[in-house]
Symmetry: C2
Subunit: 449 residues, 2 copies
C-alpha cells in the first residue's frame, strides 16, 4: 500500500474511470472531474465507433478484477467479414480462433463509472477544468473560460481528458514541450443496422464487417441488442466524399450504386446520414507526459491515434498497466514512477500511432485484393508450422502483450520478407510448397545477420 494521496483525475472516460479504480485500490482518495453531464443519465450521441477490446485491454481490466463485468457487455468477433460486390469472404483474426470484442462505447463507459464508484472514487460532473497549476497540482474550475474560477488543490493530477486535453494544453505552454497534431483528410459518420424484429442480428454476429472501397470504407460492429453500429470512413473532399453527398437522393444513389448489399439493412440511411455529425480523425503526439511528481497525462490526452487498428482504448488501458507496474516497483517515489512511465510508453504509443495510420490502407483497399489475401494465407501457414519463428503483425499487436514498438519493427521486417516471397514465379500455385517455406526460413536467417 502506498502513502495515501488526494488525487484528481480530469476526464471520466474509459481510461479515467479505470485509473480511478486502480488508484482507489492503491489506497488513495480519488476525485474524477468531467465537463460533460453524467453519461449514465443522458442519451449517448451518434458519433462513436464501436470499441474493439483485445488482449491489452482485458489484461488491465482483469488485473483489477473487473474483466468479467465487462465481458457481459462484449460480443466476440473472431474474423473479418469482407463484403465485395455482394460476395462475402471471411478472414480469421488469429491463428487459434482468438477474438476481439465489440463493445458500445456508451455502455462500457457507464459500466466503468459504476465500477469506479463502487471502488470508492467520487465523480463530479459538469465541472469544467480550464487551467491547471502544474507545480501546485491545482485545478481551476469554473462555468466559463472567461468567468470566475475556483482553485482546488490536490497532491496529484491525472489528465485523462482526451485528444483535446486542457491539462496538456497547460503543459504545451512550457518550454521544451514537443507536440504535434495532424488531421486526416478522411472523416467518419455513424450509421446503424437495426436488429431483426425477433432481436437477432441481420449480419453474422461474430464478425467485424468491412466493405472495402479503396479511398473509403464502411464497417459494422455488433451490439448486444441485435443492432450493428456502422461507421462510414470517407474523404471530406473529392470524388467519393462527404462534400459530394449533399442531399437524400445523392446519399441513397451512392449507397445503391456502391454498397448495394447494405441498402436493405440500413433503413434509416439518409436520416442518420444528415442527423449524425461528420467527425474528424487526428493523430496527436507529445512529450513529456508528466510534470515532476505532480501531473501526468494518460490515454488519448498524450497519444491520440486514428482508429484503424482498434487499439486506442487498448493502448490507454495498457498505460495504466505499465503505470501500475512502476507503482509496485517504486513505491512512493512518484517522480521516479512518472519518469519511468513516460519513458517506457512513449516509443510504444508512437509505434501504435504509425501502425494505426498505415492500417487504413490495409482495411479499405488491401482486404479487397486477392494478392493480399494470398499473402495472409502464406503467413498463416508458415506461422502455424513455425510458431517460434513467425507471429503475424496483427496478432502481435492484438493478441500479445509484447511492446508495440517491437511489433512495428518486426512487422516491417516480415513485410520485406513477404514482398520477396510474393515475387516468386507462380506463387499463386505453390504458395503452400516446401520451396516457399524454405525461402521464408532463409530470408529470416539472413535478416538476423
Amino acid at each position: 500500500m502506498q502513502n495515501p494521496l488526494n488525487i484528481a483525475i480530469v476526464g471520466s472516460g474509459l481510461v479515467g474511470s479505470l485509473l480511478a479504480i486502480y488508484l482507489k485500490k492503491a489506497g488513495h482518495s480519488v476525485h474524477v472531474y468531467d465537463r460533460s453531464p453524467d453519461i449514465r443519465k443522458i442519451q449517448f450521441s451518434g458519433r462513436s465507433i464501436n470499441l474493439a477490446m483485445s488482449d491489452r485491454g482485458w489484461k488491465a481490466l482483469d488485473a483489477v478484477g473487473v474483466g468479467n463485468s465487462v465481458r457481459e457487455i462484449a460480443i466476440p468477433m473472431d474474423k473479418r467479414a469482407i463484403h465485395i460486390n455482394k460476395d462475402l469472404k471471411f478472414q480469421p483474426y488469429g491463428l487459434n480462433g482468438e477474438s476481439i470484442y465489440s463493445i458500445s462505447r456508451g455502455t462500457l463507459n457507464r459500466k466503468m463509472i459504476d465500477l469506479a464508484e463502487e471502488a470508492g472514487a467520487e465523480f463530479f460532473f459538469e465541472k469544467k477544468i480550464w487551467d491547471v497549476n502544474l507545480a501546485e497540482a491545482t485545478l481551476q474550475i469554473g462555468e466559463t473560460e472567461r468567468g470566475e474560477w475556483e482553485a482546488v488543490k490536490y497532491d496529484m493530477v491525472f489528465g485523462s481528458d482526451g485528444a483535446f486535453s486542457r491539462v496538456r494544453h497547460r503543459m504545451q505552454r512550457q518550454s521544451m514541450f514537443d507536440y504535434s497534431q495532424e488531421f486526416l483528410p478522411t472523416g467518419y459518420k455513424e450509421l446503424n443496422i437495426p436488429a431483426n424484429p425477433d432481436g437477432t442480428h441481420r449480419l453474422d454476429k461474430n464478425s467485424f464487417h468491412i466493405w472495402p472501397k479503396g479511398d473509403y470504407m464502411l464497417i459494422a460492429l455488433p451490439n448486444l441488442d441485435g443492432s450493428f453500429t456502422c461507421t462510414l470512413f470517407m474523404p471530406f473532399e473529392g470524388e467519393n466524399s462527404f462534400a459530394s453527398l449533399k442531399d437524400r437522393k445523392q446519399v441513397e444513389d451512392f449507397f445503391e450504386k456502391n454498397l448495394p448489399d447494405t441498402v436493405d439493412v440500413i433503413p434509416n440511411l439518409a436520416e442518420d446520414f444528415f442527423k449524425n455529425p461528420t467527425s474528424t480523425l487526428v493523430t496527436m503526439k507529445c512529450f513529456p507526459w508528466t510534470f515532476e511528481d505532480k501531473v501526468a497525462l494518460i490515454g488519448d490526452a498524450c497519444h491520440a491515434i486514428v482508429p484503424f487498428y482498434g487499439q486506442g482504448m487498448n493502448a490507454g488501458f495498457e498505460d495504466i498497466t505499465i503505470l501500475h507496474e512502476f507503482m509496485e516497483e517504486f513505491g512512493n517515489d512518484w517522480d521516479k514512477i512518472f519518469k519511468a512511465y513516460e519513458r517506457s510508453r512513449k516509443p510504444n504509443t508512437d509505434a501504435i500511432a504509425e501502425l494505426s495510420y498505415r492500417n487504413f490502407m490495409e482495411m479499405s483497399s488491401k482486404t479487397a485484393d486477392e494478392s493480399f489475401l494470398l499473402r495472409k494465407k502464406i503467413e498463416k501457414r508458415f506461422s502455424e508450422k513455425h510458431p517460434d519463428k513467425w507471429l503475424p503483425l496483427y496478432s502481435r499487436v492484438t493478441f500479445s502483450h509484447r511492446p508495440y514498438s517491437e511489433a512495428l519493427a518486426i512487422g516491417d521486417h516480415q513485410k520485406a520478407i513477404m514482398d520477396e516471397v510474393m515475387l516468386l514465379p507462380n506463387i499463386e500455385e505453390k504458395w503452400d510448397s516446401n520451396e516457399v517455406e524454405g525461402k521464408i526460413i532463409s530470408l529470416l536467417a539472413s535478416g538476423k545477420k
Copy 2:
C-alpha cells in the same frame, strides 16, 4: 491600388514591420500591436543570434524601396572562417564572391519600425493581444490574460507574432488544424567579442566565424561598432553541455581547453555566460495559415525554424514578397490571395525547415572535416565550369530566388551524386581531373531518366 482596408498586424518584429510598409503602400490603414515596449526605447536583451540577410531578404526590402537604408547597417561576409585548433581556413560562400550580410537584430528592428512609421503605419506598444475572433477579425486586448479585455475590430488581421503566436494559438483550436512544435536538445547562449580599443574588429570583419566542435559550436558575426556577437550552440545535457558548466571555473577551463583561441578575444566570458539566458531552439509547422479573408499568419508565427541556414528572417520576408505578388494578381479578392499564399509558401517553408535542421551537422561537424572541404572544392570547380548544370545547394538557398522546395530536392540529388564521386579511388589526387568531371556529367544525365 486596392480597396483600402483597416488592417491590424500583431507583432512589431522584422516581418510585422516590413509587412506594415507593404500594406501602407497598397493604400491600407495599418495598426501594428506589440505586447513589448518600443524596442527603440529599451536596451535589447542578450538573447539574439545576429541576422544574416541574403538575397531573399534584400529582394523584399528593395521592392518596397528600403533596401539601401538597411545596407547602411549591414556588414558583408563573403566566406566562412573556420577555426580549428588555432588554425584558420576560409571557405567562400558563393561562386562569384557573393556575400551574406551581418545585421544586429535590435538595430534592424529599430530601423524597420522607423521606416514603417515613415510609411504611415501606427504602432501600439505594450498592448497585449490575448485572443482573436477569427470570423470577425477582432482583437481582444488587455493587461492580463484573466483580466478585462477590450475588443477592437478590423477588416483583417495578420499574425506576425512569432513562434509562440497568440493569433495561431486561436487557429490551433479550430478543427482540422495541423500543428507541430519540436525542440532541439541543443540550446544557445549569446557571448561577445568587443572591439579593439581603436574600434577595429579583433577578427576578420568580413567573415562568418565558426568554431566547429562536433556536438557543439561557437559562431561569431561582426557588428558595426567593431564588436562581434557570438553564439554558443551546445546540448542542454550530457558531456559537453550547458548543464555541465556550472560555475566560472568550469566555463573558463572549458574554453581554455576546447576553444583556446577565443580566450583572448572574449574578455567577459564567465560574466556573460551566467548573465545571458540559455535559449531554446524550436521547429514549428502548421497548416492552414489563413482564415477566410480575415486572418493570416506570416513569418515565424507559421513556420519557425532553427537558425542553422541563416534563413529565418529571409523566409519571413519572402512570405511578404509572395503575398504581394498575389495581391497584384488577385486585386481585392483576399480569399483568393490568402489561399494562393498559403498553398505557395507551405511546401517551401517545410523545405527550409528541413534544410535548416540538417545544417547544424554541416556547420558543427562537417566544416572541420577534410573530406567535406574537398567535396565543396569539387562542387565549386564543376559549378564554375558548368554553371548551367550545377548550382550548389548553399547558393540556391542563399543567393537565388528559386523555391526552397526545389533546393531541397535538387540538393538531395546532388548529394547522391557527390557521395558516389567521393568513393572514386584516389579522389584526393584527381579531384580536379577530367575523369571526375565526366563522372559527374554522366551521373547527372542518368538521374534525368
